[in-house]
């Protein structure tokens, strides 16, 4: 890539040809303020806060719309630039309601930050401000036009990334506003990103607004587990309330760029599902009754051993899940395939129609870790059965024990009538899950698991990128992380000789023993993840 050398506030820098002055400034350690400019969106150059001076040019230029050129000398620390930016700030605020104390964006608002940094303490405007009523525009967004600075990020996100012109600039002059037309609402599934990138409180999230002030949240880097894409997210966690209040996008150019879909954004509702399972239970007299973990693990393990003793290994089916972390998948392999020598180990595929936008795709595989599960050997052994096959075998009485590591609707596992029959006929049905499901309703043992935000662990996305999820929430009730449940069960089954204190050590074990993961560690994965070793890139994905 060709580069150009230039000076930025006196500092010599070298940047790729075509780099604009906002980005070039970063390289020089000079912050060029910007509202409308966003790396992931077309340059519109409308807010004018990024005005910069170029030595030898009479007029100031918009930094976002001006490419760095060889020999250029950019100046931002001049009175001329300060005055121009102060002027823009003043213009932006003349009709702004200054309602920060009741604005949802307060605390993470670019306009607020810049006002503190370079705004005037007093207004010279003195006229009545233009006002507009609040309105819903769809996409789980509320539009407050009073706060809008017309940066057009929302318009361009819909138009450019989602390919839907669902929100537009209307009218002109100071009556210009952002809006939907003829009652049509924003319907694209990327709309939630608008709340992330709106530099003011004009478009705020229905889910988050008034739930908390941003500074009350602890923002933890995480990933989304709703499809195989593995979007990087930030989980906004309210420590005192032990509650995730929002999920926002985290930039990762190898995965999701700057965006996430609204499904992932709304996933946090699941974490706080009121029906969450919170205690191990055993079915007695037709009803699930709580038991303690020791009894549950020991009792379930006894039954599994009993089935094997009476009917052989082929009478046990392990229906794993590609919602499990790499660490947990590794335990599944070690315990059931290696330790117990079972061949009937598999996980259900969970396809969905992919949603393809011009610059973002919601993947067609709802499993977040199918690639990892396969790479870690979660799959049928010689003569082993697929999930649907296991259901048929159980329905016919050949399989007597079904161990589900995630429940779900019956059709997840095969023909619903067959699954129904399998569940009612089996001697032992065990399920690990977060919420009740048609499987848990028919299970003999129900062990409460957790969401990915309640445990540490890694996932391998469809492109073979290994990324970390982090424990954010404190565990509720008696629920336990699946890696812990699996280790306990593995020991009780006599199928796991060594256990580890936590996922990081399990991951190190994987890195030592599974070539695809060689060289990886939590440190290596960092915040943005790392790809599986290249030679395994062609591993078949279930």
């Amino acid at each position: 890539m060709a580069t150009v050398k230039l000076k930025f506030d006196g500092r010599a820098i070298e940047v790729e040809k075509g780099t604009n002055l906002v980005d070039a400034g970063k390289k020089a350690g000079v912050f060029v303020p910007h509202f409308c400019y966003h790396e992931g969106l077309p340059v519109v150059g409308v807010c004018r806060i990024c005005l910069c001076e170029i030595e030898g040019r009479p007029k100031l230029v918009a930094g976002c719309a001006t490419p760095a050129e060889e020999g250029m000398s950019v100046v931002t620390r001049s009175q001329k630039v300060r005055d121009a930016r102060a002027a823009v700030m003043e213009f932006l605020l003349i009709h702004h309601p200054l309602d920060c104390p009741m604005c949802d964006k307060g605390g993470e608002c670019t306009l607020q930050d810049y006002t503190i940094a370079m705004g005037a303490a007093h207004t010279r405007f003195g006229f009545e401000k233009n006002t507009w009523p609040e309105e819903s525009v769809g996409g789980k967004l509320i539009l407050n036009k009073n706060r809008c600075i017309l940066c057009l990020r929302c318009v361009n996100l819909c138009k450019d990334v989602a390919g839907k012109e669902e929100i537009a600039v209307l009218a002109r002059g100071e009556e210009t506003y952002i809006g939907t037309v003829a009652g049509q609402m924003i319907e694209n599934e990327l709309a939630g990103n608008i709340a992330d990138i709106c530099p003011v409180g004009a478009l705020t999230s229905v889910d988050f607004r008034f739930k908390a002030r941003p500074w009350e949240l602890r923002n933890v880097p995480s990933i989304c587990t709703l499809c195989s894409k593995g979007c990087n997210t930030v989980v906004g966690f309210h420590p005192r309330r032990n509650e995730v209040l929002r999920v926002t996008a985290r930039e990762n150019h190898d995965v999701n760029q700057w965006w996430i879909c609204d499904r992932g954004r709304g996933q946090f509702h699941q974490f706080h599902d009121p029906s969450r399972l919170t205690a191990p239970a055993r079915r007695r007299d037709g009803a699930l009754q709580p038991v303690d973990w020791a009894a549950a693990i020991a009792g379930a393990a006894d039954q599994v051993r009993d089935v094997i003793a009476r009917h052989g290994q082929s009478a046990v089916g392990v229906i794993a899940s590609a919602e499990l972390t790499n660490e947990e998948c590794h335990l599944v392999k070690r315990i059931f395939r290696d330790g117990l020598g079972l061949a009937n180990v598999d996980f259900p595929a969970r396809p969905q129609p992919p949603v393809v936008y011009p610059k973002f795709t919601i993947e067609g595989d709802r499993n977040p870790n199918a690639r990892g599960a396969r790479a870690l050997g979660v799959g049928p052994g010689a003569g082993g059965r697929s999930v649907a096959d296991m259901m048929r075998a159980a329905a016919e009485g050949q399989i007597r024990a079904l161990l589900f590591l995630r429940g779900g609707p019956l059709e997840t596992f095969g023909d619903p009538a067959t699954v129904e029959r399998a569940l009612s006929r089996a001697d032992l049905v065990l399920v690990v899950d977060r919420v009740p499901s048609p499987v848990s309703e028919r299970a003999h043992w129900v062990l409460p698991g957790v969401s990915h935000v309640e445990k540490d662990g890694t996932f391998t996305n469809s492109e073979g990128r290994v990324q970390r999820g982090r424990r954010v929430l404190r565990l509720r009730g008696d629920a336990r992380e699946e890696w812990r449940i699996l280790q306990d069960l593995g020991r009780a089954l006599g199928a796991l000789s060594e256990t580890d204190p936590g996922p990081e050590q399990i991951f190190d074990r994987i890195a030592r023993s599974v070539p695809a993961f060689a060289g990886l560690s939590y440190t290596v994965l960092g915040e943005l993840g790392a790809p599986l070793a290249a030679r395994t890139a062609d591993v078949a994905v279930g």
Partner: protein, 429 residues
């Protein structure tokens, strides 16, 4: 006539019956320019126009030949010529005369320009309010097509060119060349970020030249009479005949053709017949609403680009609006500011917010509620708009407001002291 030696060429036939027809145009040598041009190479035409010194008549005064020369020669993309017939500057009505009374003169120039830049497609972008003019242009295009002047193999030259009239929907900003391009493309009339300039990336992403109607009307005459003729009219660097659209407080408002550099006083007093009712000239907006106002004692000035720039104003479209001593300067400033606030596309911050602020401040002063510091705020707001916007509309709004407030500060102060407009009942009320 004060300039007895000057022979009008642009308006030579406009007074004749059926001046808009091909027959009348041809009878007076029409399309001879096109015929001669087609026998020359495009580069020769560009060279002739460069040498003539023809500067754009739309307001900015950019040399037309130079603009044509910016169009890349080696490109696979089609090239476009856009004729700017938006004539949206308040006070300007000279292009309208050509569209209405001599459309073939415009087509003649349009075809020559298209040929010179290697274009086979010209759009005439005409403001929506010019409905009759658009019809006349359409009629002229049909006539020209029937006569083999538009379409395939024009005058057996082997060169093809189509001309289409595109009617705007009524926005000042669509007279800005990139706003015009956006409008033809079917988008909101919003100027583009420059660079790239239209000569490289214009209409539909292709090299494009945008020329004003009057500019193009000059072209056939340059071709037939030679660049020396054109360059011999008017002061240095400000050459050629010019259509002056005179309006306001003059006895005989109208479009007058005279050399570039004609004195403003001559235009007002001799062409326009002076101010009626024995009143004196109080102020003149020399070239359309965006040009800073001149006081009545400043009208001994050569009406050309460079002279007016030197005087701290602008030549603009060369269409003076004359105001006599009954006119209120605060109100005139407010009317201008209101126009620009209404016409700001709303895209960039300083123009969108600043124009409305100027309008409010001026109305406050005009209605007797002003304070002295409002004048300072007004001037500061004009400074804060100027130069900080995407296009020149922001400047166009700032300049007149500043001009009125500086040139007529006393009158502004009088409004503030007396807490009322001293001209109530005057001609601008």
């Amino acid at each position: 006539m004060p300039t007895a030696t000057f022979e009008p060429v642009l308006t030579k036939t406009v007074h004749l019956p059926d001046s808009h027809t091909l027959a009348v145009y041809r009878k007076h040598g029409g399309y001879e320019g096109l015929a001669q041009a087609l026998r020359k190479s495009p580069d020769e035409i560009i060279d002739v126009v460069k040498r003539s010194g023809l500067r754009g008549r739309g307001g900015a005064g950019f040399p037309a030949g130079t603009k044509w020369g910016f169009v890349p020669k080696s490109t696979d993309k089609p090239k476009y010529l856009c004729v700017n017939a938006d004539e949206s500057e308040p006070g300007a009505f000279k292009d309208r005369l050509i569209c209405m009374k001599d459309p073939h003169q415009l087509l003649d120039g349009t075809l020559i320009a298209a040929y010179a830049i290697g274009s086979n497609r010209a759009y005439i972008y005409i403001r929506g309010e010019f409905a009759r003019e658009a019809e006349i242009l359409d009629g002229a295009i049909a006539e020209a097509r029937r006569a083999g002047l538009i379409g395939k193999n024009i005058l057996n030259s082997g060169w093809d060119c189509e001309v289409t009239v595109y009617r705007g929907a009524g926005a000042y900003i669509c007279g800005e060349e990139t706003g015009l391009i956006e409008s033809i493309e079917g988008h909101r009339g919003e100027p583009r970020l420059k660079p790239p300039f239209p000569a490289v990336v214009g209409l539909f992403g292709c090299p494009t030249v945008v020329n004003n109607v009057e500019t193009l009307a000059c072209v056939p005459h340059i071709v037939t009479r030679g660049w020396e003729w054109f360059a011999g009219i008017g002061p240095e660097r400000n050459t050629g005949p010019k259509l002056y659209g005179l309006s306001g407080h003059v006895a005989k408002p109208g479009v007058y053709e005279a050399p570039m550099g004609t004195s403003l006083r001559v235009l007002i007093e001799e062409f326009g017949g002076g101010v009626p009712g024995g009143r004196r000239v109080k102020a003149v907006i020399p070239g359309g609403a965006s040009c800073p106002v001149l006081r009545g004692d400043e009208i001994d000035i050569s009406m050309d680009f460079d002279s007016l720039t030197r005087a701290g104003s602008l030549f603009g479209t060369g269409t003076p609006v004359v105001m006599d001593d009954t006119a209120c300067m605060v109100r005139a400033a407010w009317i201008t500011a209101r126009f620009f606030a209404h016409e700001s596309c709303g895209q960039c911050t300083p123009c969108r917010e600043g124009c409305g602020w100027l309008q409010r401040l001026l109305w406050k002063i005009e209605t007797g509620r002003g304070e002295e510091r409002d004048i300072d705020i007004l001037l500061s707001v004009t400074d804060n708009i100027e130069g900080n916007t995407i296009c020149a509309l922001g400047d166009a709004a700032a300049w007149p407001a500043r001009g009125f407030a500086k040139k007529f500060r006393d009158e502004f102060l009088q409004h503030i002291r007396e807490k009322r407009c001293p001209h109530e009942g005057g001609s601008l009320h």
